[in-house]
């Protein structure tokens, strides 16, 4: 099967392609979400150490994974846009940022509500938590920089620089915080996970991860379509668009 990738690299054809793909990913996301929640709440057994509180894992872990992964993807597309001056990839990066920030917030929020009953505190200055918090700052920095710049091309490029600098910094921050923390307190609080995860727990979690994936893709495509409309409003194909959609 040969697909003409260059054809889809043009915003106009991508706009239509994304329009076709969004329902597909939305349906998948809903199915996976329902399945994941069912497994999470009705199949997975009670954890013998944490009781029922561990069920937060089904949103916490997918959110945390997505938050980090989306940042890398965002930086990747922004970097491609900067290097090859391709409009679509920069628009993609811009579309990813809010979803990434949302997942980061969810990961922090659920982490706090999980930490309170387990560790007795909402927050610890642990390497993971601190770097996740900084990840949120990086997302917010990226979005506010882009929002503050009026010229879209400049916004794309400036955002790309800060996203790339941030991606270099994340591992550095992570290791520095880890080291800093171990210097302070020998035995820091650790996530008390049962030695072996029950299969149902693992399956439930993975299904939820997939659901988060599908949700992200659907939403990012939706937002990318918005951005395309916004930026290309002066072009002829957008002007012709109305006849077909109305």
């Amino acid at each position: 099967m040969s697909i003409n990738w260059y054809k889809y690299a043009a915003p106009s054809s991508f706009y239509f392609l994304a329009g076709k793909l969004i329902p597909f990913f939305t349906v998948l996301a809903v199915i996976l979400l329902v399945a994941g929640l069912y497994i999470g709440f009705f199949v997975a057994p009670t954890d013998f150490q944490q009781g029922e509180a561990y069920r937060i894992i089904f949103i916490h872990v997918p959110a945390a994974w997505m938050s980090m992964f989306l940042y890398v993807v965002m930086a990747f597309w922004a970097g491609i846009g900067l290097a090859f001056n391709t409009r679509l990839s920069s628009m993609f990066a811009t579309a990813i940022a809010p979803t990434g920030a949302l997942f980061t917030f969810i990961a922090l929020w659920t982490g706090a509500w999980w930490g309170k009953p387990m560790w007795g505190t909402w927050w610890v200055w642990d390497a993971r938590l601190t770097s996740e918090l900084i990840l949120l700052f990086l997302y917010i920095g990226f979005m506010s920089l882009q929002a503050a710049i009026d010229d879209p091309r400049r916004a794309d490029k400036a955002g790309a620089v800060i996203a790339l600098v941030g991606v270099v910094n994340i591992p550095i921050i992570y290791f520095s915080v880890q080291w800093w923390n171990t210097l302070h307190q020998g035995a820091s609080v650790s996530v008390m996970q049962s030695p072996k995860m029950a299969t149902a727990m693992l399956v439930g979690m993975l299904v939820m991860v997939l659901a988060a994936w599908m949700y992200s893709i659907a939403l990012i495509l939706l937002r990318a379509r918005n951005i395309i409309l916004e930026r290309e409003s002066h072009t002829s194909w957008v002007a012709e668009l109305k006849e077909t959609t109305r």
Partner: protein, 209 residues
């Protein structure tokens, strides 16, 4: 050549640093034990903020009067000119803090060794602040709300330097070795020395379009 700056700028940054550092004992209370414990962090955070305070003016004056355009079309390589800017920023806003820090450290009852470690860590660390900060300053040129935006962009990136800078002082105060902190700070300095001028030059070109 590029370091022509008003003396007032140096004094403002320096006084900001002194005032912030002096506010803490007033807020926390004159308990010497507590003060000694928080001293490295306080001095480092104050240095960080003071260095950031002057970032806004790093390129904006040149941007307003058109010198920046001349900089971009200068036949000398742009990253060297940007590096010159960074060095001058450090000479104006970093070096005075390094020189002032030991005196302020005495207010916090730090030992002689801790004082020297503090000064050395600031000596290695503050150039990194100028180097990374210049990228943020270049990106936010002519952008509304630029001043706040710079802090939002730059402060997260400052965190590793803060941790290791303050960590070195704490380690020495606790009688632990601090060589590792210094070698890491030195590594950061080298890496940012190589990449930051280049990234800031690219950012300037983007901002001037």
């Amino acid at each position: 050549m590029l370091a022509m700056r008003r003396q007032a700028d140096v004094l403002i940054t320096l006084f900001f640093f002194i005032i912030v550092v002096s506010l803490f004992p007033l807020g926390v209370g004159p308990e010497m034990n507590i003060l000694r414990a928080i001293a490295p962090g306080v001095l480092w955070v104050a240095a960080l903020l003071a260095s950031m305070l002057s970032l806004g003016r790093l390129f904006s004056i040149d941007y307003m009067d058109g010198t920046l355009e001349q900089l971009l079309i200068s036949p000398s390589p742009l990253f060297l000119l940007v590096l010159g800017k960074m060095v001058s920023h450090w000479l104006v806003s970093g070096l005075p803090l390094v020189l002032m820090a030991p005196i302020l450290g005495i207010q916090y009852d730090l030992s002689m060794e801790a004082l020297s470690v503090l000064t050395l860590s600031l000596l290695i660390g503050t150039p990194i602040l100028s180097l990374i900060g210049a990228i943020g300053a270049a990106l936010t040129l002519g952008v509304r709300g630029g001043g706040v935006l710079v802090s939002l962009l730059v402060l997260p990136l400052y965190i590793p330097i803060l941790i290791f800078g303050a960590g070195a002082v704490e380690a020495s105060a606790a009688g632990l070795g601090y060589d590792a902190h210094f070698s890491l700070l030195g590594a950061f300095l080298l890496v940012s020395l190589v990449f930051a001028p280049w990234a800031a030059a690219a950012s300037l070109r983007i901002s001037m379009e």
